[in-house]
């Protein structure tokens, strides 16, 4: 079992979700995040002083997938989230020792 985590541009969430759905992934968990990287933030002015806000809003997804699907899922996410402009984000994969569905106690692939 693998955990795919993706940090993407917020407005791409809907496309990524559809793409994953089409691929057959049935669930995911989403959190608001903000990212720091090459992409520049924005500037605010307050009483004549200028402040640079370096953090950029991002959306963070977690998708638990079977080992066999992991490469495809990463691919699907990367394709759907890509705009080609700086700040598109990262996708990474961790190994998962165990997964349980809370409702039923099912484990492993059955828990997805």
């Amino acid at each position: 079992m693998k955990l795919v985590t993706a940090v993407i541009k917020p407005f791409k969430l809907d496309e990524v979700r559809s793409a994953l759905e089409t691929f057959g992934v049935q669930g995911m968990t989403v959190t608001d995040a903000s990212g720091y990287g090459r992409q520049k933030g924005h500037t605010e002015v307050y009483r004549g002083a200028e402040y640079t806000v370096d953090l950029v809003p991002k959306t963070r997804l977690e998708v638990l997938v079977d080992d066999t699907d992991v490469d495809d899922v990463v691919d699907v996410i990367v394709k759907a989230a890509q705009t080609g402009k700086i700040g598109d984000g990262k996708v990474w994969v961790n190994s998962v020792d165990a997964v349980v569905r809370v409702r039923t106690g099912e484990v492993g692939v059955d828990a997805l």
Partner: protein, 432 residues
Amino acid sequence: MPELSAGDTAWILTSAALVLLMTPGLAFFYGGMVRAKAVLNMLMMCFLALAIVSVLWVLYGYSMAYDESVGGLVGGFSLAGLTNIGPDDLAGTIPVFADVGFQAVFAIITVALIAGAIAERATFRGWAIFVVLWATIVYFPVAHWVWGDGGWIGEFGAIDFAGGTAVHINAGAAALALAIVIGPRLGWRRDPMKPHNLPFVLLGAGLLWFGWFGFNAGSAYAADGIASSAWVTTMTATAAAILGWLLVDVVRDQKTTALGAASGAIAGLVAITPATGFVSPVGSIVIGLLAGVVCALAVGLKYRFGYDDSLDVVAVHLVGGLVGTLLIGFLANETYTGDAALRGLFYGGGIELLGRQAVAAGAVMLYSFAVAFILGLIIHRTVGFRVSEDAEVGGIDLASHAEAAYEITTAAGPSSSHAAVSQAAKERSVQA
């Protein structure tokens, strides 16, 4: 025969607008106190009361309250639809229409006040029906009792300058009845159920206070000395009640709270309402201080007796209304009442005034409670007065109005909600 006074009319029209603003003010006072998932429903309960009662008032409410008395109990229907009234007709020194407008907004706010007791869980349909029935069966007649020509309470000699009995005791008793009928919110006593937006509570309190100058000083029906002294006591009683409530806060919790300040202000406004044109400024400070302290303590009653009066309508309006109505029996001041018979115990008056005040308060309380209880029960058993558990837990705003109050995204920070983006917009029939 009195002539039109432009000055008095200007003041009553202004006052009427001020009192109308009280209902949106109340909506925010209440709306800030509920949880975020129920704020729209709270606002909507108030606005619905505004919409329905305005129309009823013109159709037959004004007539039931102010038409010729039928046995001191209710007015007739000859003024229904206001079709007999023209712009040149006068009521004293002001046009009848100014009176119609000014009295309308009292009816509206009284009904809206009740909503706080059943916040976060009442069906919107049930509330709509209750508004129509309670206004018709309770408010219009009770307004007649107190202020109508020949109404029995007025005849009996109890006094109520701006609505301690007709408005606050009346609404507070109905609120108690409904809170009992529809039962506590899920998780009551277990979950904190904290106000979701305390600045809104204070905004509402500020607008209410502002509007209350129309409520109280407008009830002089003239721009004169009594209107002016009512203005002053409306300021001072409120101020004193804030201090009174904060005092309880400090003694009990070692902290002053914003919710306490806002609630104290309303408690003071409620208590001074019946007395505003009958007492001196110093008298009003006494009333305010007592109301602040007593109402702050009265909040505990709901825990002791086990009814979930969610936003403390009973503690503030019923109890506050009683405080003010009864204190008239002590503090009524001949300089202000202009009548030696209307003197409180502290000014050499007898016990009779206090007795009459108590009878009036008791009568309104019992009548309103009983009718509201029966109406509530009937609605509950028929169309339903309580939303489903899922709706209550998931939030009545979504369940009853299919809306979420806030969608606050800041481009600046990480709290940007992606909900908007992830929605699949399925336009159904947006065309007319």
